[in-house]
């Protein structure tokens, strides 16, 4: 992939090239405003690059989780996850949903209205969708560890490792250090355009 992106008159990045191989996790790093989220949105297919090309095996990522959790305040945790699962043609049986929530240790709140959850609990519900994924696809995750406590981070790390083990790949941003074995992680720095 070789892409350029502009915000207004200002280039965020130009001719930025990288690849994500099966079984590889790429940790995209960069200063605030360097265009990490913009790059992830381009990879996810939500935005178009100003220039350049993007080639994805399978045509699109298997999962994209952005800053927003895509949960409705007035639905229950289970209803929210069932909606997301059906939207993406994932397993949506009661047992499957319960197991996914258990993976993120949030199953005890499965009947709770989303409005009553803390930010960390909402993030866990949003990430529980990843536990429903079975395909070795590309996951694009924007600050997935935001608002998570240590146990939540460990649960997400287990999901990431399992996904890599089945041949999946991950492109993520995180301002937190990743608690994953170094051999699984490829660091990629997004340069600040115009910096020497």
């Amino acid at each position: 992939m070789n892409v350029s992106c502009r915000r207004g008159q200002e280039w965020l990045f130009r001719d930025f090239s990288f690849s994500v191989k099966p079984g590889e996790l790429v940790w995209l790093r960069g200063q605030n405003g360097s265009g990490k989220t913009s790059l992830l949105r381009i990879v996810a297919g939500l935005s178009r690059p100003e220039a350049g090309t993007l080639t994805l095996a399978g045509g699109r990522p298997g999962a994209y989780i952005g800053h927003a959790n895509a949960l409705k305040d007035d639905l229950t945790v289970t209803e929210s996850l069932v909606f997301l699962a059906r939207l993406h043609d994932l397993e949506s049986s009661a047992q499957g949903i319960r197991d996914a929530l258990r993976t993120l240790a949030i199953h005890h709140r499965r009947h709770a209205i989303v409005r009553t959850l803390s930010q960390g609990q909402r993030r866990r519900v949003a990430l529980a969708r990843l536990a429903l994924e079975r395909e070795p696809s590309l996951w694009v995750l924007d600050e997935p560890f935001d608002a998570l406590d240590v146990h939540g981070i460990e649960a997400v790390n287990r999901l990431l490792v399992a996904h890599l083990a089945r041949g999946g790949s991950v492109l993520l941003t995180s301002h937190l250090a990743l608690g994953l074995p170094g051999n699984l992680v490829t660091e990629l720095e997004l340069p600040v355009e115009g910096a020497s």
């Binding site: 996810a44 297919g45 939500l46 935005s47 178009r48 699109r60 990522p61 994209y64 952005g66 800053h67 927003a68 959790n69 895509a70 949960l71 409705k72 305040d73 007035d74 639905l75 209803e79 909606f83 997301l84 059906r86 939207l87 993406h88 043609d89």
Partner: protein, 223 residues
């Protein structure tokens, strides 16, 4: 497969409205209150009320339908649900159509059910009320479908609520003319079939053209 996402999105929107019943009732309450003000302002003369009734009911229906348009995509846009919908493997056309259906069930259908009451209030004849209801059944889905285009185009914009009105109201003028005109024809002892047929044609045209247009507008707004 994409038909599944149509019912999935419509069902979710109806469920959400069920959890916020007060908000869901606002358009029909506005419709009844606004239309009820006219007899108070114009006077109780039955002949005058009967004459202005079709126009008043249609204009109030149009404004009531517009009332909830700015929320059609806004909450899904803010909480990230819209991103997930557009990234699904399903066509965005079916997603937009599902949301328009839910909007019509929550806004258009209550207006149709309330219209006969307003017809009696305005001393309309039974045949005129039937024609008014038939016109609303054909016309209100058009308002929801065209409204979807406006809501998609103004997504994320400041003053989006006002812009929707400026975009959608001119597009709805034919619906208003043929809907009110149909009742006028019946009042004159003529057939309303021509006006209703034109409303039907507008509905078919909107069904075919509006969801793809709104889906394209959504993609532009999201990027």
């Amino acid at each position: 497969m994409s038909g599944g996402v149509f019912t999935l999105v419509a069902g979710r929107d109806l469920r959400l409205a069920g959890r916020r019943r007060f908000e869901a009732l606002l358009p029909v309450v506005f419709f009844i209150v606004a239309a009820s003000l006219f007899p108070l302002g114009v006077g109780p003369e039955p002949q005058v009320l009967r004459q202005i009734a079709p126009g008043v009911v249609w204009v109030c229906a149009l404004l009531a339908a517009m009332l909830s348009l700015n929320t059609l995509f806004a909450s899904d846009f803010q909480d990230g649900s819209l991103e997930q919908m557009l990234l699904s493997r399903h066509s965005a056309v079916f997603i937009v159509a599902g949301k328009a259906l839910a909007h019509w069930i929550l806004t258009g259908l209550p207006l149709i059910l309330a219209a006969p009451v307003l017809g009696v209030l305005f001393d309309m004849h039974a045949n005129s009320i039937l024609t008014l209801v038939a016109g609303l059944m054909l016309g209100t889905p058009v308002l929801s479908l065209l409204g979807g285009i406006g809501a998609a185009l103004t997504l994320g914009l400041r003053s989006g609520g006002v812009l929707i009105l400026l975009i959608v109201l001119p597009l709805c003028i034919p619906v208003l003319i043929f809907g009110a005109g149909a009742v006028g024809m019946v009042d004159m002892g003529l057939s309303a079939s021509g006006h209703l047929s034109l409303l039907g044609a507008l509905l078919l045209l909107s069904l075919v053209a509006a969801p793809p247009a709104a889906a394209a507008a959504l993609r532009i707004s999201m990027s």
